[in-house]
Symmetry: C2
Subunit: 194 residues, 2 copies
């Protein structure tokens, strides 16, 4: 059973219609008040892809500067995105001003709009894996910059940038665990009773 977040892709393109089918499955996700706030941008233009990659490189260089000593050396060794190789680039946004769902469930927790989009990405993640497609979620990006590169409406909030493609290799442990960056803990360590 390989892990979900994939950063090493084969360059082989995805079958025609694969991304659209994954988006259709994502749209079956639950959303707060049936607001369906997800907005998907299939990024095809090479110039836009390059600009996103530049955005990542700048953010990643800044992130590296925040570490020191051994941890910095370790960070520099990590592969944190598959943007260069992945045949599919998909940006995902949340429409904050949508009237769909008539605001139900969002009054005290407006952030449930963003959470609904995250749920849709998680559905897509599993659906992709069921077809042998890898998905990598890139968060080392400056959101305003990505929104500008992709020229999306101002009411769209950037949630995540997804790399899609066939995995170069399948691993059963998370990349950051294999790299000894961090280890996983069991549920009882995160559970309290009241």
């Amino acid at each position: 059973m390989w892990r979900r977040d994939v950063r090493r892709f084969r360059s082989e393109p995805l079958p025609s219609g694969a991304v659209e089918r994954l988006i259709d499955i994502a749209c079956l996700s639950p959303s707060v008040g049936l607001s369906q706030p997800w907005r998907f941008v299939i990024v095809e233009a090479q110039a836009r892809r390059r600009a996103v990659i530049e955005n990542f490189k700048i953010c990643n260089a800044k992130a590296l500067q925040s570490y020191s000593g051994e941890r910095a050396g370790h960070y520099a060794m990590l592969k944190l995105a598959g943007l260069e190789e992945a045949p599919g680039h998909l940006a995902v946004f949340a429409e904050k001003s949508s009237e769909t769902g008539h605001g139900l469930g969002r009054m005290t927790m407006p952030e449930t709009t963003e959470y609904s989009v995250v749920a849709a990405i998680c559905s897509m993640w599993l659906a992709a894996r069921a077809e042998g497609i890898g998905l990598g979620w890139v968060s080392i990006l400056e959101p305003t910059g990505v929104s500008e590169i992709l020229a999306v409406p101002r009411s769209w909030k950037f949630i995540g940038y997804l790399c899609l493609g066939y995995p170069d290799a399948e691993f059963d442990r998370p990349e950051l665990e294999r790299a000894n960056w961090e280890h996983r803990r069991g549920g009882e360590q995160f559970t309290t009773r009241r």
Copy 2:
């Protein structure tokens, strides 16, 4: 195939250990930088459960006041939570100040901490369904109030309150669609190309 968000529960308790098992599965979710920021509070004390239900009732009454005319009448008819009947109450938080994962991936988008917790809830949602257990995510709550009722650390951000139990009935369409509150749209309506 029944839908995921369940609001109508049988009072029959869940098997011993079921909630803990679902939490274990949730903790297998991907998280930003392996930060594992999820914090689960199994709410057992009747006084705390009652206080959460009161919080919901106040928020729901305020939400009703935000609608007028036919829409208000419609809102008042909706069943929006299963807090009274559900045998299991589980509150889920995000630990914003955790050092786990050494901050990786969170610098430009600190909200990915919350998103990781949402991903864990989505894993739990599907795992529950695979066992015939229904899960309902309640967002009509005032987050500060819930945190106070459950006496959690200040660095924990409230993400969602989950009702767990066996569903009273299984539906293949979302509750809000069956109630004609909102309808679902297909993926192509949410997709653009750049």
